[in-house]
């Protein structure tokens, strides 16, 4: 057993493997399947100020080596979350990252303030959800919008603040730098890529919302590149993600510059995948004589 501990800024993680927002609910369901306390952390489903029903129509579609989803931030709202989920989450022995989305600045700030009264470990500011018209991606496209929301968010919370970037950003490096300047403690990337699928018999898009978010193995090469570009141009730690299916993928993300990694779509392929990934990273460190993950972060 190697030493998998890692510090993400001031936050200690027992290992770098975090389950990604929207793919792991609030942990309850997977807790019935395995001991989720072994995880480095959990990023919750995106929380908004108000309760939301999410998108209508088809919500999931498979592509060549990925999936497209159009869930659209269905969630219990921050009040419901605090009441029904926080008590459960606070009892877990793993880092809790609350993912927050919103339609406008005041919604974001409302949710952030509320959540900041709890004992969670980190906030993940989701400025990158492509699935709701006002779901936050608007804030993740142009640097000035991202800068504004991060600046405001920084003012209302003392919790460690990670900003989740969109691969659809005009200039992801520029946005990353702006987040750093405005006081973000870290960055997580990438959220889903905006994609389209068409039913040629019906002559209509598969999704009511027309575009939907692509995740899974097919986005990995692009996600890995973005992590590396951001790593080279910023000085705050990164949570890398996008198509991580196994330990090799996870290590690629670490070598590209991630301090922690997040696992999303892979949970659907194998609900216990995070266990395999933690073990696989451990084995690799052992085999290669790596004493601490810090030795290989961004090494390429």
């Amino acid at each position: 057993m190697s030493n998998l501990n890692i510090e993400f800024g001031k936050v200690k993680f027992k290992n770098p493997v975090i389950t990604a927002s929207g793919t792991f609910g609030f942990g309850r369901e997977y807790k019935e399947i395995y001991d989720i306390d072994i995880l480095g952390g959990i990023s919750t489903k995106g929380i908004t100020k108000e309760k939301r029903d999410g998108n209508t129509g088809m919500r999931i579609y498979e592509t060549s080596s990925g999936i497209m989803n159009s869930v659209g931030l269905e969630n219990p709202g921050v009040e419901g979350f605090l009441k029904d989920e926080i008590p459960f989450l606070e009892k877990l022995n793993t880092n809790i990252i609350v993912n927050i989305g919103g339609a406008c600045e005041s919604d974001y700030l409302y949710a952030i303030e509320k959540v900041s009264e709890t004992n969670i470990d980190m906030i993940e500011l989701n400025i990158s959800c492509p699935n709701v018209k006002a779901g936050g991606m608007a804030f993740g496209i142009k640097t000035k919008d991202a800068r504004q929301i991060v600046k405001s968010a920084r003012r209302v919370t003392n919790l460690p603040l990670v900003v989740k970037l969109s691969p659809n950003a005009e200039d992801i490096v520029d946005i990353a730098r702006a987040c750093e300047e405005e006081g973000a403690d870290g960055l997580s990337l990438v959220n889903t890529f905006k994609g389209l699928a068409i039913d040629i018999e019906k002559r209509k898009p598969i999704f009511e919302n027309i575009y939907a978010g692509v995740s899974g193995p097919s986005i990995k090469p692009m996600a890995l590149r973005m992590v590396n570009e951001v790593y080279k141009n910023t000085n705050i730690p990164i949570m890398g993600m996008g198509g991580i299916m196994n330990a090799t993928d996870a290590i690629e993300f670490i070598m590209a510059g991630s301090t922690c990694i997040q696992v999303g779509t892979a949970n659907f392929v194998n609900p216990r995948i995070a266990i395999d990934i933690i073990k696989g990273i451990d084995d690799f460190m052992e085999k290669e004589g790596i004493k601490s993950l810090e030795e290989i972060i961004g090494i390429i």
Partner: protein, 232 residues
């Protein structure tokens, strides 16, 4: 990982898949099945068709990529399955009708087998579009068996005769039954089909609007009170 004992065609595009092992699971629950390594990425939900101490059986219709891949599996091949997931049909007493349409009959065999001993009366209605299959199997468990091929099985059903109707099949058929039961003293339970990703209630891609708000078909369903889902 489990071993396949049998994977045989029982009718046009309909296969029976028997997997070795003692599995838990209630009537109406399902498993996420994966008869391949990498692609398709997502596993496929299949209901418990039958089950005993040595094996579990699924009945599936060939639809697309995933179910096509399933047909290629042979005795002795490995297969992955996760579950049981979902709520399943409730254990009830009284007079009950089980109504299946097409591949919707899949979860109903095990359901009939389970209910047979607890209920007062059990009638089984099976509707097929082209050709009937497995009706003999069902015959073992019902007091009466009604089969229709080509026309609507709901034509044979008098809902007032029952305390409960359990149904699974095309939405149009289930809606019809719920409508027939409206205002009468009959409870209908329907099994909802939604595309799934996690299967465990974590991803919300299978959410369905119900009278009581959004509900996860994989976790809170797939079985619902008819009036709760088909209320509009």
């Amino acid at each position: 990982m489990a071993k396949i004992l049998e994977n045989i065609k029982v009718s046009d595009k309909i296969y029976k898949l028997v997997i070795e092992g003692k599995f838990h699971g209630e009537m109406g629950q399902f498993f996420m099945i994966r008869g391949w390594d990498d692609y398709p990425l997502l596993s496929r939900p299949l209901s418990i068709h039958d089950k005993n101490n040595e094996s579990i059986t699924f009945l599936y219709r060939v639809e697309g990529f995933g179910t096509n891949k399933l047909t290629q599996l042979r005795k002795g091949d490995n297969i992955k399955l996760e579950g049981p997931y979902g709520n399943g049909y409730p254990t009830v007493k009284g007079r009950i009708a089980i109504v299946g349409g097409g591949i919707g009959i899949a979860p109903l065999l095990y359901t009939a087998k389970n209910l047979k001993n607890t209920v007062k009366e059990l009638d089984i209605y099976l509707g097929f579009t082209e050709k009937e299959y497995l009706t003999d199997e069902f015959g073992k468990y019902g007091n009466n068996l009604y089969v229709s091929v080509g026309d609507f099985i709901t034509g044979k059903l008098e809902v007032d005769k029952y305390d409960y109707v359990f149904t699974c099949g095309p939405e149009i058929m289930m809606r019809k039954i719920v409508e027939m039961a409206k205002g009468k003293n009959v409870k209908t339970y329907v099994s909802i089909e939604k595309h799934m990703a996690c299967g465990v209630g974590a991803c919300l891609v299978c959410s369905c609007k119900t009278k009581n708000g959004m509900s996860r078909v994989c976790k809170d369903g797939p079985v619902y009170l008819g009036e709760d889902v088909f209320y509009e």
